[in-house]
């Protein structure tokens, strides 16, 4: 009788053993839901998500301080992760499995954040308008041969800000200013508010080349495998700096009372199941190269690329400098 009583108590108490993690995220809900659902099925723990954009979410975390209910902070772009760590909002974690799975250039040196996916910014072009042999580097897009043919997304988008930030690190401020000025002078159309419209303007518009994140083209190709616009990986070859890679990433918050559990979520997220989900949903590259055989077919069509080798924390550190530089040369 006593045993039955104890078992009954355990049975009713069982759901309460399932803990709840609170995730603050800037990712779009429809992109995150499959991942969260898979985690809940795998672990039995619940995930509660607070969605918002970067500025308000960082401000909220800062204001809440040690009393914040957030356990995890998940955003796109290394700049935002760097900012969160710079504000002391993230906790350093030590994990051999994370260090093995995530390349050093894609995680914080102190272990405060880790990449979940790679988002590569490449050059898109129309083969009927441009011979791919004419394409080479990001800097070359500033040369006179691209006058009136280049299209860009707005400078207010963090993807371009990170690219310019990394260029400042690589080339220095003066050279980068000259390159960005060259881009602006070569614009064939007003800057676009999104990458998809830019790609479509290359397909049937005044644009010949442009800079976009690869997954936008991936989505169009997934809808129509015969889509005419192609991807070119810039800055490749011996001695070259590599294609600019940004990330979506996650960190454990300093205020979290469930750091071990939050860490286990991150460790699961860099594993094969989660990486496949993340890669398939939004056609972003997984952070691990172990999945090369299971890579989404659309991503395979882009071919291999040599990524940039700088630590992405630089993108955050130099973001303000990049934005000021872009605004100064008239890049809207």
């Amino acid at each position: 009788m006593k045993i039955r009583y104890i078992l009954a108590c355990l049975f009713f108490a069982l759901p309460s053993f399932a803990a709840e993690l609170v995730l603050y995220s800037t990712r779009k809900e429809q992109l995150l839901e499959p991942l969260l659902k898979a985690y809940e099925e795998h672990s039995g723990h619940r995930l509660k998500v607070v969605y918002d954009s970067e500025g308000p979410l960082l401000e909220r975390l800062k204001r809440e301080g040690s009393k914040s209910p957030a356990d995890l902070f998940m955003v796109v772009d290394a700049g935002n992760l760097w900012k969160a760590s710079d504000l002391g909002l993230l906790a350093p974690i030590k994990s051999k499995s994370l260090e093995a799975a995530v390349p050093a250039s894609l995680r914080d040196p102190q272990g405060q954040w880790f990449a979940l996916t790679r988002r590569v910014r490449g050059i898109v072009y129309h083969p009927k308008k441009v011979d791919p042999k004419e394409l080479s580097t990001y800097e070359d897009l500033a040369s006179a041969k691209w006058k009136g043919k280049l299209c860009l997304r707005s400078s207010s988008k963090v993807y371009n800000q990170s690219l310019v930030a990394m260029m400042i690190e690589r080339l220095g401020t003066d050279k980068t200013r000259a390159v960005v000025k060259g881009w602006v002078d070569n614009l064939g159309a007003k800057v676009f508010s999104d990458d998809t419209s830019l790609i479509k303007a290359i397909e049937s518009g005044p644009c010949h080349v442009g800079l976009v994140n690869s997954y936008y083209l991936g989505r169009l190709i997934a809808d129509n495998p015969q889509y005419p616009v192609k991807m070119f990986w810039p800055n490749q070859g011996t001695g070259a700096s590599g294609a600019h890679v940004n990330i979506s990433g996650v960190g454990v918050t300093r205020s979290s009372q469930k750091k071990a559990l939050a860490q286990s979520f991150i460790e699961w997220s860099v594993g094969p199941q989660a990486q496949k989900i993340l890669s398939d949903i939004n056609l972003e590259f997984p952070i691990t190269t172990n999945l090369v055989n299971e890579l989404n077919p659309t991503l395979k069509t882009f071919g291999d690329f040599q990524p940039e080798n700088f630590n992405l924390a630089i993108a955050g550190r130099r973001q303000r400098e990049a934005v000021i530089l872009m605004e100064t040369v008239g890049y809207q």
Partner: protein, 527 residues
């Protein structure tokens, strides 16, 4: 109302109005020198000029188009039924939705430019992301403010006055200027200032069309330069513009305007011949077709996929939108009504009316942030609870700041139509203030309250940035879903939510026309 209660309400109103703005101002002192120097040197003046041009252009276009539609509906009886519906549909469409619909048609990959490219080559291509289009789109979605304002002003009968002026030798234009405009200007000014304030606060259309307004720069400074102080300082500049707009509107209203009661204009006098009617109708119809009906048709085509309607959780989003809308509207209207009754027919009317009108022009995200700062500083709380109650209260405070002036103006207009002698007599004859309020004040003010409630509800349903920031219980409203999918260029999914949002807003707008919601006493009092 006793003077103690009155004083308490006025103080509470000022505290709620000025408290968040105070903390915003306080934050603006913490701007980094590097950031402010850059803003001053490169973005402050260009964005200020861009804001003024965008706002002025949109207002003028809305004024022109709204007046034209009002004239057409009076001149051509058939359109008196259709036009209010069409203008109501426009009012229900958020400007950024019409913006992305128009761009999808006019963009380089859209059907218009593809056709031009095929027949005339690359030289026929035009840039759709331009000032004129942005102003057309924003002005068009704001023109219902003018249309409905003029509808309110156009009652009664003044045709004899107009004809008398003409028969006494005045030219047509002079009669319009001396007779018609003074009677309509009050309504037109009110509508125009609303449009101007909306344009000052707009982010969606400006971002879509690449116009670097102050609202965009505020976002950029906050999100990209990581400078909340800089964003706060720019927002104070925007607040100053809003205040200037409100003060100028008050100044432009001549003393005799305030005494205007229901004045009518038989607008058939304004169309001296049928060619003019045809031209006006052609212009109005052409604009409507090109800029509104065709994009809305595109919306229907995108959303016409039954599979999407089955797979997307739009009923849940609709429920959450209505819940937040009704709660927010009840809070806003209750608070505004109480404050109005506290200051009505007193000099302190402007003390509350002025800041309430000014905050209408501030971006929702800044008001959301101000409310958050207010919450943390005043309450001494250290975290925002993730449930429903506190975020909903804060969001309601934002709605009060942002949309309270819609009801305030309505109450002002309603009270202006009532003779003050009525209330003086009632005070003398009434057995008590409660009886007077129940039998006289409430029934007479109810029509404005009902209309204000529905207008605030529509605005709350369309609102995006503050709702995104404070999301009670992590809810996803229709506007949030539209933004989520539109920003990823998933037009068909965005269209489903946009269509539901437009229908919900349209239903609310239709309710404003229904008489059965009015209490009988108010009907009796009006007749």
């Amino acid at each position: 109302m006793s003077s103690g209660v009155r004083l308490f309400l006025i103080s509470a109103g000022l505290f709620l109005l000025l408290g968040p703005l105070f903390f915003l101002a306080q934050t603006s002192f913490r701007v980094e020198a590097e950031v402010w120097d850059h803003l001053r040197a490169h973005t402050l003046w260009p964005s200020l000029i861009a804001t003024l041009i965008f706002a002025a252009g949109s207002t003028l276009w809305a004024l022109f188009f709204g007046c034209l539609m009002a004239l057409v509906s009076w001149r051509l009886p058939f359109f008196r039924l259709i036009l209010p519906l069409l203008m109501g549909a426009l009012f229900a469409v958020p400007p950024y939705v019409l913006g992305f619909l128009s761009l999808s048609l006019l963009d380089y990959s859209g059907p218009v430019q593809r056709t031009l490219h095929r027949f005339f080559g690359e030289q026929a291509l035009f840039e759709p992301r331009s000032w004129p289009w942005a102003i057309f789109i924003f002005g068009l979605t704001s023109s219902p403010y003018l249309y409905f304002s003029l509808q309110v002003g156009l009652r009664g009968e003044v045709r004899p006055l107009l004809e008398a002026g003409l028969s006494l030798g005045d030219s047509f234009a002079r009669s319009l200027r001396r007779i018609l405009w003074p009677r309509l200007s009050l309504w037109a000014l009110g509508g125009a200032s609303l449009v101007f304030l909306e344009a000052l606060a707009d982010f969606g259309v400006a971002d879509l069309f690449g116009i670097s307004t102050l609202s965009r720069e505020i976002f950029q400074t906050w999100g990209s330069l990581f400078s909340l102080g800089g964003a706060a300082r720019l927002s104070l500049l925007l607040l100053a513009l809003c205040l200037a707009t409100v003060v100028l509107t008050q100044f432009l209203k001549t003393p005799q305007d305030e005494d205007q009661k229901q004045v009518a204009v038989d607008l058939s006098s304004l169309f001296p011949n049928s060619k003019f009617s045809a031209a006006a109708l052609g212009l109005a119809g052409g604009v409507f077709l090109l800029l509104a009906l065709i994009p809305l048709l595109q919306l229907f085509l995108w959303a016409a996929k039954p599979q999407l309607w089955l797979e997307l959780p739009w009923p849940q989003a609709l429920f959450q939108t209505l819940l937040i809308g009704v709660l927010g509207s009840v809070f806003t209207c209750s608070l505004v009504f109480l404050l109005f009754m506290a200051v009505w027919r007193r000099r302190s009317e402007r003390l509350l009316g002025l800041p309430l009108s000014a905050t209408y022009g501030l971006p929702g995200s800044l008001l959301g942030l101000s409310s958050l700062l207010f919450f943390f500083q005043i309450g001494g709380w250290e975290q925002l609870p993730s449930g429903w109650i506190v975020p909903m209260l804060l969001l309601s405070l934002v709605f009060f700041l942002k949309f309270g002036s819609l009801l305030w103006r309505g109450l002002l207009s309603q009270s202006a139509q009532l003779p003050s002698s009525l209330f003086e007599s009632a005070e003398l004859l009434s057995p008590g203030p409660l009886q007077m309020w129940r039998k006289i004040t409430w029934p007479l003010m109810f029509p404005a309250l009902r209309l204000g409630f529905l207008l605030v509800l529509i605005e709350i349903m369309k609102e995006l940035p503050a709702t995104l920031m404070l999301r009670p219980g992590g809810t996803s409203t229709l506007a949030l879903r539209v933004h989520q999918f539109a920003s990823e260029s998933e037009w068909d999914r965005a269209s489903v939510y946009a269509l539901v949002l437009i229908c919900a807003s349209l239903i609310c707008l239709l309710l404003t026309r229904l008489h059965f919601l009015r209490p009988k006493e108010a009907l009796d009092a009006r007749t």
